[in-house]
Subunit: 266 residues, 2 copies
Amino acid sequence: MAFMNQKGGVGKTTTVVNLAAALAELGKSTLIIDMDPQAHATLHLGVEIDEDHLSVYDLLLSAETDPVDARRAVVKTRENLGVIPAVTDQAAVETELANAPQRHLRLRNAIQPLLSEYEYVLIDCPPSLGLLTLNGLAASREVVVPMQAHFLALQGVGKLLETVSLVAREINPKLRVSGVVLSMHEENTRLSKEIVADLEQFFKDSLQQDVPWKGARVLRPAIRRNIKLAECPSFGQTIFEYARWCPGAMDYAQLAANIATEWDRF
Amino acid sequence: MAFMNQKGGVGKTTTVVNLAAALAELGKSTLIIDMDPQAHATLHLGVEIDEDHLSVYDLLLSAETDPVDARRAVVKTRENLGVIPAVTDQAAVETELANAPQRHLRLRNAIQPLLSEYEYVLIDCPPSLGLLTLNGLAASREVVVPMQAHFLALQGVGKLLETVSLVAREINPKLRVSGVVLSMHEENTRLSKEIVADLEQFFKDSLQQDVPWKGARVLRPAIRRNIKLAECPSFGQTIFEYARWCPGAMDYAQLAANIATEWDRF
Ligand SMILES: Nc1ncnc2c1ncn2[C@@H]1O[C@H](COP(=O)(O)OP(=O)(O)OP(=O)(O)O)[C@@H](O)[C@H]1O
Ligand SMILES: Nc1ncnc2c1ncn2[C@@H]1O[C@H](COP(=O)(O)OP(=O)(O)OP(=O)(O)O)[C@@H](O)[C@H]1O
Ligand SMILES: [Mg+2]
Ligand SMILES: [Mg+2]
């Protein structure tokens, strides 16, 4: 499941970490893959690795001649929760793999052996539509788009869906967009009501088209703005470790329960 | 004055547009340069240009052999307020100018003839440290960093200052960081108090070093979180046109007044 949005600061990392933590608490074996060279998901979880530990960077550079075993890259960070950490060197992958064969499939190929071990794999993408995000998309079956119910946020969605279409056509025909997670949500404002209405109308119209976001919807509940969600990364904790009963934790727990009910049908 | 932060969604565009509008209302002739291919500042101001109108893209590609007159690129959008609009093609500049001579100085060279006409030039940078932002930095005397008082936001500041140092050393020795604008600020939270204290300590220590951010500080007032600031872009309005007396407008007006008092001494 790739969590992507080229717009920065919209809650991708916060959603990946806390949703994964909630799924893990529900007993689902969950893996986080941190594609962002800024390594915020890795930091958020309080994971530090020494220089020899494998990272996403190693998986991307891994070649068929000398494949890296992705299982050695996983850090078991909590019960039912593993993470393949990010490192700053990942930023160079855009140039380093610029003309490499199968440069969009590096991640997908590398994680094949892992897939049987995890019920949920959540991929945290950087704020761009470059090679790192494309690897995340090529390796996923589902795309989730965290976003704020703001005007400028809506502007970027068109470009994002274009990219998803491109990947679905050229690289990964099974890819579909499950929907949008409303992040940092301010429920009782006119703006958020209008933006949510726009989104729901858009998804309703898409039901008639043969597009990767046919059947996508606004996932519920929205995640309300809650300062605790911004505080817990500084302690290397998930929201459930930091403030078990705060609104942010309740929202992510409910979202995870809804997703699990839905996904477990397949 | 370059407004930069490689982290996305931290309030660069909102700050550039509303600060510029406030300065314009104080009677200062102000120019906004929209470096972001997403063109959010251009959108925010309600500016639409037809295909032949010059944009930042044209200024960047403008060569000495066939220079473009930057004055023709300016759209007079309100009293005392001009903007050089952005277009999506700007995103390609990274590759198009990859080996071009003076690729970091394109903007600076292009806007020379304009500088005498404006008291304030505010440059809105995209969320990256690439060629567009470097052009913004090379063309500026001052750097302002909009950011949220959040833990993950602090992580990016180191890398940002490294880039500013690089530009100051290699390209633009006059460049200095005036400070940080706290954006989407939630004043009474423990987190924001801690982060602000960290920032103020950091700037205090920097007074002893010969760095471009010597003398930088947390600019006041902080801009409080206020939904009106997220609503007005959808109407193509500045906060002063949309909700003249809301907290967001008061904060930007005060910030502009403080900046003007300070800058007018030079
Ligand atoms: N619901 C929320 N309430 C309050 N703060 C939040 C919430 N969600 C995220 N934040 C904070 O907002 C900031 C941006 O969130 P986050 O880092 O998750 O976004 P992102 O999309 O991953 O950013 P990037 O594009 O840089 O990867 C962080 O400081 C985070 O702690
Ligand atoms: N003080 C504020 N209160 C409420 N909402 C705000 C505030 N400042 C900015 N916003 C909203 O937050 C979102 C991000 O702000 P903005 O677009 O200015 O950030 P940015 O740093 O320019 O983003 P990008 O990196 O994409 O260029 C926008 O939807 C904006 O309307
Ligand atoms: Mg992130
Ligand atoms: Mg912006």
